[in-house]
């Protein structure tokens, strides 16, 4: 090789201007085809998601135009007499979601902490795949379990709570009489509480995996710093892991809430569907937008179907808002949680 030695002086004749060399590579046909195809697939996926929203708006519009604002305030579902609204079922969905999150949050938080902080190394991967397995168990199986197994064990608890805490409005159960030994326990079955418990098990895995990921990113320097200052393991978790994972905890909880709002089959199997607002979470009969759709699509006329599409649109928008907020929180906590060490 006889390359000229590097000289610091630019080899430009006086009077010439230095033109930067173009750095773009020429792509072959194969590459251009590939890039086009890949972009196309991205566009296709985007288009499909837009179509989902678009079609719901298109078909639901017919019902929304007739119903107007009453769609959000009416508590019954009779589209044929143009008297229908989702006030009751939407409240039911939200209450079921909140009940589910009330139980799922400690479960997910504890399990995530256990996997990331306490579990011995050889157990970690097994535990992670068990939690993944839990997310993959079909919802109809959870529904079956909640309806036929969980319910009979939980009704006693519901009766206990309503007997002793019934003075708190949400725990009140109409028609329940704790002093009557022959009481029909059906007033406690098919309630928001039981549906929420069942859904809690279904949304715990997603919340747990988001939290676990956030916890495992807590920086090693700060962890060891806490230990060096004499912290116990819990002291370290409380001062390092939990603050760093706060975004993950909030985001994971909201993602879980989004799933819980949209859950259909398990809720439908467990609850006794009603259309009025049911603020008593232990009482039989509650609503859910998705259960309404699953229940009514069968015998629906064209206009009924438009109403169901509008209900689906409301559910779609609600979960979309919750999920966008959740992923924004998770993403921001991820970029913000950079270690100084």
């Amino acid at each position: 090789m006889t390359a000229p030695a590097y000289s610091p002086q630019p080899r430009i004749a006086p009077g010439e201007t230095d033109v930067p060399r173009p750095l773009t590579a020429r792509r072959g046909t194969q590459d251009r085809a590939f890039r086009g195809l890949a972009r196309g697939s991205g566009g296709l996926v985007l288009g499909m998601m837009a179509l989902v929203g678009g079609f719901l708006v298109l078909r639901g519009w017919q019902a929304l135009r007739v119903d107007g604002i009453r769609f959000l305030t009416v508590q019954q579902w009779e589209p044929d007499s143009h008297d229908f609204g989702i006030a009751g079922v939407l409240t039911g969905s939200v209450l079921i979601g909140l009940t589910a999150i009330f139980f799922a949050l400690p479960l997910a938080l504890g399990t995530a902490l256990y996997i990331s902080e306490y579990a011995p190394a050889f157990l970690k991967r097994t535990l992670v795949s068990l939690v993944d397995l839990m997310a993959a168990i079909p919802s109809v199986v959870y529904g079956l379990w909640g309806f036929l197994f969980l319910q009979q064990h939980v009704i006693g608890v519901a009766r206990f709570i309503s007997t002793y805490l019934g003075w708190i409005p949400i725990f009140k159960v109409d028609g329940a009489d704790p002093h009557n030994p022959l009481i029909n326990l059906n007033v406690y079955s098919g309630s928001t509480f039981i549906a929420g418990l069942t859904v809690a098990l279904m949304v715990t895995p997603i919340a747990c995996s988001v939290m676990r990921e956030a916890f495992s990113q807590a920086p090693l320097g700060e962890r060891e710093g806490a230990y060096a200052l004499g912290a116990t393991r819990w002291g370290m978790i409380r001062t390092v892991v939990l603050p760093f994972g706060r975004g993950g905890i909030i985001g994971g909880t909201m993602l879980g809430l989004g799933r819980a709002l949209g859950e259909t089959i398990a809720v439908y199997i467990v609850i006794s569907l009603g259309f009025t607002i049911q603020p008593h979470i232990l009482q039989a009969g509650t609503g859910s937008v998705s259960a309404l759709i699953a229940n009514h699509y069968g015998a629906a006329t064209a206009f009924d179907m438009a109403g169901l599409m509008a209900a689906g649109l409301a559910l779609f928008l609600l979960t979309l808002i919750v999920n966008f907020a959740a992923s924004a929180i998770v993403a921001r906590s991820r970029s913000g949680a950079v270690s100084e060490a």
Partner: protein
């Protein structure tokens, strides 16, 4: 030598470990006191671990809580119920455990033990709940499953009054298989291509697509069903053509695809992001184009992870009920044709059987649910076996295969060199 803190540059001094007596350090050197017995190798101290007292406190608290709760439930108070027993017992355990630990530890240590006990028990509770769901279904399932006809017949002759020796879920198994095949045929190429796009062509558009795909992973599955219903079963008028398909396997497969696609994109995206950049750069440095790099380097490196993503995605897809409920129709006879007539899938069969409320139909529902869980479990174990390794990690067999391929290449090059007289 790492143990010693030195303030001056190391002097050529005799090995301190081999000297019988303490070596006299040069002036100005700070030397930490030597470990006690220099002739024995230093034993590593265990910083964590379980001491005998911890174990005794734990067992004592457990025994105390159990006796207290038993006494309360059988003798003292009018309590009953399994769940109440566990709740009271757990609270009693926490109180006793706190007290026992507080006897000999300081307050921060007590809080540490208490937090540890709570975290362990929550994880245990979750695993118990998971185990309970699976065990419950598997304990109820065999009543229907043990009859061979459950696997080989469909439900056309099995009403709520027919015994379990008549009827089965063959039609639902065929339906599930066909619908998931349709869904995979759509989502695997499209999903993987889109994941490659997100990784290979980064930019504003890719970021936008990723955000939308992420949000769509949480799309309520009933909405996916409604979409296919609104778009394809009601049909759309495009100019003179009325595009419409009837309820059945194809519509169900499409609805499952809408739901599965974001899941597969997201999982594959995460896997592809882990492919080491150095491998791709090596490929570019050898003169390969982008497509060639993707095809021969990126995808093969991530193969096990991608297979896992697809398998887990199909486990999710084949367990979905609500998209199928709206789009597949329901029937009780075997229909192998996805484009004509209603077609039942396993989760849909479970749903219809359990909501019928008839005891024998519920037994059949348990059987079908057990089959469903079995399929999901098999898929999961397969995914675990295939996807046990990170990207670029090779099993012994793969490594030997690569080594012999590389030897073959060398032989080929040498042979050509011998033929041409020089390196090509």
């Amino acid at each position: 030598m790492d143990l010693y803190t030195e303030t001056t540059p190391p002097q050529p001094q005799p090995e301190p470990q081999s000297q019988p007596g303490p070596a006299t350090p040069p002036a100005g050197t700070t030397v930490v006191a030597e470990p006690g017995e220099p002739d024995r190798p230093e034993r590593r101290r265990r910083t964590g671990g379980f001491r005998r007292d911890d174990l005794l406190a734990l067992l004592g608290a457990l025994a105390g809580a159990l006796s207290f709760t038993l006494l309360l439930f059988t003798q003292l108070a009018p309590f009953d119920g399994l769940i109440g027993f566990f709740v009271v017992g757990y609270a009693a355990f926490l109180v006793f455990y706190t007290f026992l630990v507080a006897l000999e530890e300081s307050w921060p240590a007590v809080r540490d033990r208490l937090a540890s006990a709570v975290v362990h028990s929550i994880a245990l509770l979750l695993l118990l709940a998971l185990g309970d769901v699976i065990v419950y279904v598997f304990s109820q399932g065999p009543q229907a499953l043990r009859h061979l006809n459950f696997w080989t017949q469909d439900l056309r002759a099995a009403g709520p009054l027919q015994p379990l020796t008549i009827g089965g879920v063959r039609h639902a198994m065929i339906g599930t298989f066909e619908q998931i095949t349709i869904a995979l045929a759509i989502t695997v190429p499209l999903g993987l291509l889109c994941a490659v796009f997100l990784n290979e062509l980064p930019g504003r558009f890719a970021r936008f697509v990723r955000t939308i795909a992420d949000a769509a992973t949480a799309l309520p599955s009933v909405v996916a069903g409604l979409f296919v219903y609104a778009a394809l079963i009601i049909g759309v008028q495009i100019g003179p053509v009325h595009l419409q398909i009837q309820k059945g396997g194809l519509a169900a497969g499409l609805a499952i695809s809408v739901m599965m696609l974001p899941i597969i994109i997201r999982a594959a995206d995460v896997v592809l992001r882990l492919v080491p950049g150095s491998l791709k750069e090596a490929s570019y440095a050898l003169g390969a184009g982008q497509w060639r790099t993707v095809w021969t380097v990126t995808l093969p490196t991530a193969r096990s992870g991608l297979a896992t993503a697809v398998i887990l995605g199909s486990a999710r897809g084949l367990g979905e009920t609500s998209p199928v409920l709206l789009t597949a129709g329901y029937n009780t006879y075997t229909n192998g044709n996805p484009v004509q007539g209603p077609q039942t899938s396993l989760p849909l069969a479970v749903f219809k059987l359990v909501t019928s409320g008839e005891p024998l139909q519920i037994q059949r529902a348990y059987g079908a649910a057990a089959v469903l869980i079995l399929v999901v479990l098999v898929l999961f174990i397969t995914a675990r076996i295939i996807g046990g390794h990170g990207p670029g990690h090779l099993t012994g067999r793969q490594r030997r295969a690569r080594a012999s391929a590389s030897i073959r290449d060398l032989d080929r090059i040498l042979a050509r060199t011998a033929q041409n007289g020089s390196l090509p």
